[in-house]
Symmetry: C2
Subunit: 609 residues, 2 copies
């Protein structure tokens, strides 16, 4: 989850910016707004249906004593329900849909009844009679607890209601009583509990939750987790000594995001610096152009530096979601625009590629290259196209909760004013300042911000200028000025209602070269426009010419073509190039839209010869 | 195993060439001779020690009632003993080492005593009380039986002794009684039984063994094997309908080799044609330059066409061994030189890279690229270098049996004479013809063949001219003639003792380009010389220049340097190129010798810019 609630000030907290309150941002349209609507109207209802059919809900009914039978599914089955609950909580907070509340309350009731007297709650472990915490490297008990806590925090923040928070606090109190210095030293194989406990601390003010999160972060990286290689679990190198990310990519970035939470709340500059180094290493050496994370199917893992295959990119949807969460925490802790750039790259490419436009079909794996004759040999294989659910269904409800809390990543505040990081049509409020954002971004580069309400004092409105936006300008009543790409452009005033700021970001299509050590993309260039990575998909190419035989002429012109009839409205880019039989026009569409017309050959990096 | 025994003529057998008898070829030196010696003197003794330490032998003792306890290790533990036994059998046949015979007889005695009254024999299944054949997709019961049969055939062929063959026949008779049309229709998840049964048929003349092998081949590819995706098991497409190889690479090539055996013995031209198509697809789209097979760690599998990552090449040693076995059967069935070229490529590169020069350390995975800072996160990871044994120890004893039966791949015969496919110093006999081969190949290209014995009739001596050997010449008493690369050069005479043939293969170093669809090697060239693929290893490069920063100048000269002081004598190739600071000399060594000075950065495909 984006940490979207108020950070309770403590004597030690060290952040540059703080999130705005839940409900302080609205999204009223644009491509991401449409995705959020599809998430609410289609994905969340379908998701609960899937969770019932896959028996995740049944497990809770069994544990609650409302049905009889045996637990079904993977050991972490509860976590998918919790993630759905978090999604529903954010949505209910926004829309107060009574039918959604009924579902939330039904599940909350099951959780209340399933919870053991001492606070323990994990339906699969309880039903299978497994010894608690005896196989924590694989049992995901902390992981499930973490997602439950996150759901409860979301529900509390958006509604003020405490039914679910009470369950979560009892879970957390049980963890505090069981784990920590001098108690059970075990660590969960899959992080997320760290972020969750810090959020619960933020929501409740209970310091022991933060302390336990800190303990989990401090004791990881000492090789105590067995089962697979310790690198898989991010348990090979202590978090504050690590210089890169490794192993299972979702685990790695969830851990890093939780460590960033701990660093922020405890004012731990050393830990924060280590996380900055790790993030920089990831961004330079282990992240796809799409913001995809994880080069390897084997172990769903980060690869070696510069090991970034396009055809077998894993780039799990959950990993990019975790990357967004980590980047958000780093952004608030450091105030560096590059983290907001990362969030934008991840959201518009590797994250939304994970779900169909309709909202109900998902990619687990977000490849950057699909060849013809690819064998659809796995339920995660891109050759099957997006599907409705997975045997390991972590990604779909993770997508749901991310869309439903998307507002949390758009703006922040500090004593001086407000920072706008992402540009979606809607409204933003922080303190006495209230703004309306009007834009057709990312199709158009013009972003108009109108002051709807302001206090009497001077405040700063800071706008991120993406690093790719060379030549951007900011227009206010004082005139038009050039602003610097990769920084925040600010204007400080005693704002009046009706004041406007117009940020103009040049969206000229551009060619991007890979790092010279990335062998998989050598001799290729990629097309980008604004925050969007483009791709060649077979459906758009000249008939009879295979995508894998296309070559790009880097000296040719890149021409935009707006197509309202295609995929709900899209800006294509046409490039000059060649096929086996001579010159041919190449047609690129935004990467995240591929496979909405069926799975078919596609590539992001285009060979030059 | 190479099928190295006499093919019993049947009314239906359809092969162009037949193998020479066991013992009809000797290897007396050269790099492969040295490897074979290391295999005999170091690897085979160390292998038995490893099998005792890893408890594979204990399992047989337990099943034989000679010890008490529980079975240890993977379900296919017996197969590694069987493969070792096959290796020992070939070696004993050559050297008659009495200590080796003691070991063979000790293990044979255990197998005799472990075998159930009805012929069933699989120590782990027996000891664990598992229901026979109830989980054949994973239990490897046919797989273990197949390796036992192969060991028994080797021992019978080389010694004429039948102790082990009797055990194997009872195993095979049990299979014939249990499986086949109208009986248990199940298939083993891991092929090898097909090759084994055909070999047992060749050794014994018992037709039911061939029929059962044919049944297994004919019924595979109908999606009956569950557990993983059917493609993994080569069970998605019927063998005679498949147009490529897919899934787990060892399984795929073992199945294909067994199918080739069936096709040869039954004169099944349709099946043989399908196998030719499959082999061609593999060679064009799914085989590494090194003869390595299998692009994916996930599932140890072939990838999609042209998916050939160098850094994460799996290229399991066992898969290349299986590739050699398949190619050998295709060579005999078709008489096409390209299959012998493939055998040579595989032996000199992807196969011998799998073992250290000392003979006792192994690569499971034969990567074509190791970067610096590669995390050694798995016992198979190339970053650990070769190791003495693996948790899944299929490769080491597979290497042993391949070296010990290497003679089987060198020559063949037909009614017209003798074909020499590979050039090692030694002797070859077929019919009344006996030859001595003298050569320093592959370091030197001159191969001198002297007739030591000949009958009175005209016979043909046919010599393979590799496809890369443009400009090759053949010199006989009649003079010197140009011979065609990629074909056999023959001379037909009534040979006299002392007659000589001198084949001269030009070993000029050459640059090889990747297929334009192989993205992983785009913008790169590889250096080859004769049958050897070369690689840049860090130890040989200019100080301070990382292998991954080196660039090759394709217009530069390739200069040979013979170094007797290095790695037992090696011909290096020096190329011109550049590093980050300007021009630099690139030094390449034969790929298979990398990591004999510790694991370190290495790459086969060298970027041009």
């Amino acid at each position: 989850m984006a940490y979207a609630g108020p950070v309770r000030p403590t004597e030690t907290a060290a952040v540059v910016w703080r999130p705005v309150a839940a409900g302080a941002v609205t999204i009223t349209g644009g491509p991401l707004g449409a995705r959020q609507t599809a998430n609410r109207t289609a994905a969340i209802p379908a998701g609960l249906k899937q969770l019932r059919e896959a028996k995740n809900v049944l497990n809770l009914e069994l544990a609650a004593g409302k049905a009889e039978g045996e637990a079904v599914g993977p050991i972490f089955a509860d976590s998918d329900v919790h993630k759905w609950l978090e999604a529903a909580a954010w949505e209910y907070g926004r829309g107060a849909d009574p039918a959604l509340l009924d579902d939330i309350l039904e599940l909350t009731d099951l959780l209340q009844n399933a919870q053991a007297d001492d606070g323990y709650l994990d339906s699969v472990v309880q039903l299978r009679g497994l010894e608690r915490y005896s196989e924590l490297e694989w049992s995901h008990e902390h992981y499930c607890a973490g997602h439950l806590i996150q759901a409860a925090v979301a529900y509390s923040r958006t509604t003020g209601r405490t039914e679910l928070l009470d369950v979560a606090r009892r879970v957390a109190d049980h963890l505090v009583a069981t784990f920590g210095p001098g108690k059970n030293p075990a660590l969960d194989g899959h992080p997320v509990i760290e972020m969750a406990l810090v959020e619960l601390y933020r929501e409740t003010g209970e310091r022991s939750y933060l302390d336990l999160a800190k303990h989990f972060v401090d004791t990881r990286g000492r090789g105590t987790i067995t089962g697979r290689d310790v690198g898989y679990y991010s348990d090979r190198v202590p978090v504050r000594e690590a210089t890169t990310v490794e192993g299972h990519s979702v685990r790695a970035v969830y851990l890093a995001a939780g460590a960033a939470d701990v660093a922020a709340e405890t004012g731990d500059a050393e830990l924060l610096a280590a996380l900055e180094t790790q993030f920089a290493s990831m961004a330079l050496e282990k992240e796809y152009l799409t913001g995809g994370l994880g080069a390897r199917w084997e172990g769903e893992a980060f690869g070696d530096p510069y090991e970034l295959p396009n055809d077998r990119a894993y780039a799990e949807t959950c990993a990019t979601i975790g990357g967004i969460q980590w980047a958000w925490r780093m952004l608030l802790a450091t105030g560096k625009a590059s983290y907001a750039d990362q969030i934008e790259r991840m959201i518009y490419n590797g994250f939304i590629s994970g779900v169909s436009q309709a909202g109900t079909e998902y990619f687990y794996v977000n490849t950057l290259h699909l060849r013809d004759r690819s064998v659809p040999d796995h339920d995660r294989t891109p050759a099957r196209g997006r599907v409705g659910w997975f045997a390991c269904a972590c990604c779909p409800p993770n997508v749901m909760r991310t869309f439903s809390s998307l507002e949390g990543y758009l703006a922040s505040t500090d004593a001086d004013g407000l920072q706008l990081h992402q540009y979606l049509p809607g409204t933003v409020q922080a303190g006495e300042l209230k703004l309306t954002v009007a834009t057709d971004y990312p199709w158009q580069g013009k972003i108009t911000i109108t002051v709807d309400q302001a206090g009497p004092d001077e405040t700063t409105i800071a706008l991120r200028v993406p690093a790719w936006a060379e030549g951007a300008t900011l227009t206010t009543a004082a005139g038009t000025e050039d602003v610097t790409a990769g920084e925040y452009a600010g204007a400080r005033r005693a704002w009046q209602v009706g004041d406007q700021l117009v940020l103009d970001l040049p969206l000229t299509p551009r060619l991007t070269a890979p790092h010279p050590r990335v062998d998989a993309s050598r001799g290729c260039l990629a097309i980008e426009r604004g925050p969007l990575v483009y791709a060649l998909e077979q459906a758009d190419q000249a008939e009879g010419v295979a995508v894998d035989d296309l070559r790009l002429d880097p000296a040719g012109e890149l021409v935009e073509e707006r197509r309202e009839d295609l995929l709900g409205g899209v800006t294509l880019i046409k490039a000059t190039g060649s096929g086996p039989d001579g010159p041919v026009e190449l047609v690129a569409l935004p990467y995240h839209l591929w496979a909405n017309r069926g799975p078919q050959p596609m590539r992001v990096w285009i060979p030059l010869q």
